[in-house]
Amino acid sequence: MPLDDATHRYTLPGATGDWEIVVGLEVHAQVQSNAKLFSGASTEFGASPNTHVSLVDAAMPGMLPVINRHCVEQAVKTGLGLNARINRFSRFDRKNYFYPDLPQGYQISQFQFPIVGEGEIVCERDDGSRFTVGIERLHLEQDAGKSIHDLDPDATYVDLNRSGVALMEIVSRPHVRSPIEAAAYVRTLRTILRYLDTCGGDMEKGQMRADVNVSVCRPGQYEKFRETGDFSHLGTRCEIKNVNSLRFIMQAIEYEARRQIDIIEEGGKIEQQTRLFDANTGVTRAMRSKEEAHDYRYFPDPDLLPLELEESFVETIRVNLPELPEAKRKRFVEVLGLSEYDASVLVADKDRADYFEAVIAKGADGKLSANWVNNELFGRLNKEGLGITDSPASPEQIAGLVGLITSNVISGKIAKEVFEIVWTEGGDPEQIVESRGMKQVTDTGAIEKVVDELIAANPDQAEKVKVKPQTLGWFVGQVMKATGGKANPQAVNEILKKKLGV
């Protein structure tokens, strides 16, 4: 799996030649947890402002943080899912800065000793090709509250519901080489987190957001960087803060890369900066320069003991890890015989994969089920703007339908009619087929009778078939028409061939 497959090389032409881009991402993923990282307050989304705020979250005098064990488990689980090293010793540090939505005046984070070290994930581009992105680290930290500036022309309001919510900051290596790869990386990461049930991954609800580091370089420089690990082969990077959708991530990278190229080509130098992406205009704006960067005065939080994990704690989580997308995809292909494409479509979304697994758990054929789920079901859901979890057709119903096809009770064509009934009216496919007389005619005697009648009525056509066997299809169509589509196509074919001697 070449990392920099020539067919996926992304270059931007400039006045002075081609440019390439190098991207690293820091993804902030909200830990799936009912309670906050250091307090018992709820993390429920959408509550009235300042209703999920404990004394700790509001930083009342004398309040102390107590680590939420579940959040630690979730971080370890995520680390294992990212094929990363779990640090049995980690520590919480305070990142000090003043802002009204940061009640303590510091964020509790992990600076020097993160809970998870190096790992890597295999990501998939839209065309199904894959590339690997290194993970530098994952650490736990608190989210801040929310400052609301647009309720009043003069005042800023603060909502502390998010204050203290657990986040995992997942820092990638600069292994991402195009806007599409950046989106693919975030999408893959989200899929893994959702499989692990460690993050909801809903970017609209703020459950995931990314800081995107972008630099540009000449072709060949990146390879030198990968060989030596020496960052001086790469350009100066700018960090775009808090980008909250895949589309914006791609837009921001494109804009930022072009901006940097223009500056360099006009003889300027890139200044290391923190920038903001404006989704309305699609441009990035300078937020602060390196010189203006905060001095966060990190130091170990004396209110918390270092996090020391027992090996058994990590092992218990390891043995209980769910199957991850990459492994599931392999199994679908190798064990169930699915096509690479069908397997990828199914595993890309945990809910879809779960749905599919539920279908085959009822004993339905893998390949046929994949076909039905991916084409008929997803097609219909898409058309009606529904998610898989809102599907009117249950896995049991689809399994029933598929079972009727494989056991030759109905044809694929009838199955579509049954699906329509299941979708709009509900009901058990078998009963539907039974009660509405949709059963396929496999009684060869009955089919033979129809065939005989048709041959007798169309002698010219019968002669034609003997010369041009491809015209058999005309008879097939006539038989199906005469039987209301219920004749078993295979049986029809066989009988026709026998009778017509082809």
Partner: protein, 492 residues
Amino acid sequence: MSDMFSMSLLEARDALAKGDASSAELTAAHVKAAEDAQGALNCFTVIDPDHALSMAKASDARRAKGEAGVLEGVPLVIKDLFAVKGVETTASSNILKGFKPEYESSVTQNLWNEGAVMVAKSSMDEFAMGSSNETAATGPVVNPWRAKGSTEKLVPGGSSGGSVAALSAGIGYGATGTDTGGSIRQPAAFTGLVGVKPTYGRCSRWGVVAFASSLDHPGAFGKTVRDSALLTQTMSGHDPKDSTSYPGAVPDMLGACDKPVKGLRIGVPREYRMDGMPGEIDTLWSKGVDWLKAQGCEIVDISLPMTKYALPAYYIIAPAEASSNLARYDGMRYGLRVDGEDLIDTYEKTRAAGFGTEVQRRILIGTYVLSAGYYDAYYVKALKVRRRIYEDFQAAFEKVDAILTPTTPSAAFGIGSKSKADPIEMYLNDIFTVTANIAGIPAISVPAGLDGQGLPLGLQVITPALDEETMFSVAAAIEDAAGFTAKPERWW
């Protein structure tokens, strides 16, 4: 019943148990005494007679039902650093003016659970930063003790100066304090009281306004070693709300006071004999050695070589933590707010008006030592010193069971005599006490005699982590031998 104000806590407890007095009677008298003393001693931040009396009446009712706790009905004074639900809690700072917490600190809750009653909240150095109780927003606290033949107003020590001024004036039968560098033991020594700083983690910090989290130790004051033992024991216990709270059982500290000290090995650290230390201090220390020797202890000369680095390390670690801990006082959610032109201006005006000079100084020092480029040279180095000091004690405790030192390098000094000088001179007050905070090990100050001017002096006993029992045994032995009965002559 002997005189209401000269009884010890244990005596008061007996009197209550026997029905010689009700808590309501005792509490009313103590509240009255507090009100009478406040003008001269300025040692309280809150005197709320209604609050005190309702607690006392509830206590009497419990006793009537046969539900008396260990401290049932006993009036206590509570340092203003402890959050008391519904009662103004300011850490003696303007920035928390008017702040009434909706919660109760774990330590005070433990006291109320055993029936204790709060007489008043006591003044302190602002945010516990000081050694003389001159930095309180409400002004200096005055020591009830005066030098023989002098009317000069002396400091009670700090930061828990209000608690000791009250208790040495006979108000309350015990008091809470906190000790970050000596803030319990030094004021205890200055007022002829017993001051206990237990092992770090023994008393929960939950609900105690933070100064320097890794050094802050809630603790207790008593008129006697036994009083202080019972109080400390009641305040102690594991608290799941404090991640640094010790999860093990609380030992029988009161019982330990009756254990003979015969055979114990007592260490005398040569590094505590400092140049320029008054002869009286040295003499008292020698007396202490003799008292323990006479009771069968073995005296061992020991070395704690890192001692001289303790104070510099302390004045890096404590301000560093404080600079972060005090960031929450930003005028946004509670306490003082002075509106400015914009957000930064509001922060600056609020914190300038809310914090006193000493607090500002320590925030600046702490911010500086944590800054990029200085962190390794100051903070990281100080942590290394901290580890070495801890190792010094560990090595010493291989050879001895307890360490005996003076508590302070001098007796109480005049108000204004040091606060206007170089701050370092004030910081030197903590020179004998600060090491136990850095190491997190238990230490107690026991009144052991008077200096030439008739002012009390204390001896300090330090023991290994979690061994409060030996500390109380040795302290009780010193108390017995010293026979310290002096009281400040009433002038207030």
